[in-house]
């Protein structure tokens, strides 16, 4: 066998190694629970979440509510599907997309330090929004999101959904075909 053929065989063997299923399961549960915990308060209080998005000043204010309405539900759906192991690769793509968005927003906020005009002061709602997200202006959450981005990328590339609903459906279909 040529070198190229050997390399292809080796890459393919690595890509389909059964160990990926176990590692991906752990990643899916960690990321899934993180997203579930993050989505819940946003679903319960969309107005407060809208204030938090407005604080970043990245979107025109008229369209902030669209994101405030849609994003928590996408997070919730993605979290549940990740935990269940259904359509894991597609869910991982969605997770990666959301994480890229969070990373860009956090990096923007960190660079700009959410500066406010020196003569302004916060209304109670504004102060509450800033208090809720003051810690996010630091780099801790940024690196956490970067780590989760790599983890979700791993799931997209290597997870076959063996430990989850995808794997279950596959085994049921195979059994049916076998009969």
């Amino acid at each position: 066998m040529s070198d190229a053929g050997l390399l292809k065989k080796w890459v393919g063997a690595f890509w389909n190694h059964p160990a990926h299923a176990g590692v991906s399961l752990v990643i899916r549960w960690v990321v899934g629970i993180t997203f579930l915990v993050a989505a819940w308060p946003k679903l319960l209080a969309p107005e407060d979440f809208a204030f938090s998005i407005a604080l970043y000043r990245m979107l025109p204010e008229r369209y902030v509510h669209i994101l405030a309405i849609a994003l928590p539900m996408v997070e919730l759906f993605a979290a549940v599907l990740f935990l269940a192991g259904f359509r894991v690769r597609g869910t991982a793509v969605v997770m990666c997309g959301m994480l890229v968005m969070f990373i860009v927003a956090l990096a923007y906020a960190h660079v700009h330090q959410l500066e406010m005009p020196s003569c302004g002061c916060f209304t109670p709602a504004g102060a509450r929004a800033l208090a809720d997200h003051a810690e996010e202006v630091g780099t801790g959450l940024l690196w956490r999101d970067v780590a989760m981005l790599f983890a979700c990328g791993y799931v997209w590339l290597f997870d076959t959904g063996r430990f989850g609903v995808d794997g279950l459906l596959r085994r049921l279909a195979a059994r049916k075909e076998g009969k």
Partner: protein, 290 residues
């Protein structure tokens, strides 16, 4: 379904994942808007009113914002409490974590405190406290506003209301010793007596007690030059049993409280008074120092 052989990279499945992602987002967004439409606290899709994040600062307009005692959480990192009372009142009991910022009758505000307040994050609430939430706190608030500090509030009812509500009080410890140590090496003696009564020596400085003025900067510089040395504050009067509550304020106690609030941590008050100078050449205060 995943049907790749053990040696294939699953390109088809990796591509199908994008289709699944698109479907997931579409279904989730549709569900989100449907849920928003039927829920009680749903929000309008397009917002027409601007976000009320910033408001005009009331202190700039001349209004005084007041904060009720039950709303004050001193442990909130976005709240800073400053105490405008005199140092001896501050030492007797203050809101936990409050910064001392005594509003002397005839002196401007401490510039260091103003710099620290001005450098805090935008949106931090600065709550000014006095005994009753009255003129002293309002004067302090106006002075801070004029110095450029924003987000200012007066605690409604002041420390009296804080104590009535049974809230936690923090005190500042000022240890009392019965007399000066025999070995005076390595200590600093602060004389709280009026000026020109005692000559200065290398070991003692004069810091006459004055409840209208902060301690003199030159004297503080001398004390800060030997910051590690413990400070013993002496006076010509016996310290009362409860100096924190005694009024008028004992001079030694007053000076000690002033020094403690200015950051000197090793300050002691001497209970026994110094002997008065003898006009007939007998034992003098100089001798009493020996």
């Amino acid at each position: 379904m995943e049907r790749n052989s053990p040696t294939d990279i699953p390109w088809r499945e990796l591509g199908i994942a994008w289709r699944d992602a698109f479907l997931l987002v579409a279904v989730a967004v549709a569900a989100a808007f449907a849920f928003n439409a039927i829920r009680e606290n749903g929000i309008p899709v397009i917002r027409h009113a601007p976000f009320d994040l910033l408001g005009p600062c009331p202190e700039v307009q001349g209004d005084i914002s007041r904060l009720a005692v039950e709303k004050l959480r001193p442990d909130d990192p976005h709240v800073r409490v400053v105490d405008a009372r005199m140092p001896w009142d501050y030492a007797a009991g203050h809101v936990p974590g409050a910064w001392p910022m005594p509003m002397y009758e005839t002196a401007p505000l401490d510039r260091e405190i103003i710099a620290r307040l001005a450098s805090m994050k935008a949106g931090t609430w600065v709550v000014v406290v006095d005994e009753t939430g009255g003129q002293l706190a309002e004067r302090a608030l106006s002075a801070l506003a004029a110095a450029g500090v924003r987000g200012l509030f007066v605690l409604e009812g002041g420390m009296a209301a804080w104590k009535r509500a049974g809230k936690l009080l923090e005190t500042m410890e000022i240890p009392i010793v019965s007399e000066l140590p025999d070995n005076r090496r390595g200590i600093q003696v602060v004389d709280a007596l009026p000026e020109n009564v005692l000559p200065s020596s290398s070991e003692s400085v004069q810091l006459p007690f004055d409840d209208l003025l902060p301690p003199e900067e030159d004297v503080l510089k001398r004390l800060r030059a030997r910051l590690q040395a413990p400070i013993y504050v002496v006076s010509d009067r016996e310290l009362p049993p409860d100096p924190a509550r005694a009024r008028p304020v004992h001079p030694g106690w007053g000076v000690a409280a002033q020094l403690r609030t200015l950051g000197f941590s090793r300050v002691f008050v001497v209970r026994k008074p110094l002997l008065p100078p003898s006009p007939e050449g007998g034992e003098s205060r100089e001798d009493a120092h020996e």
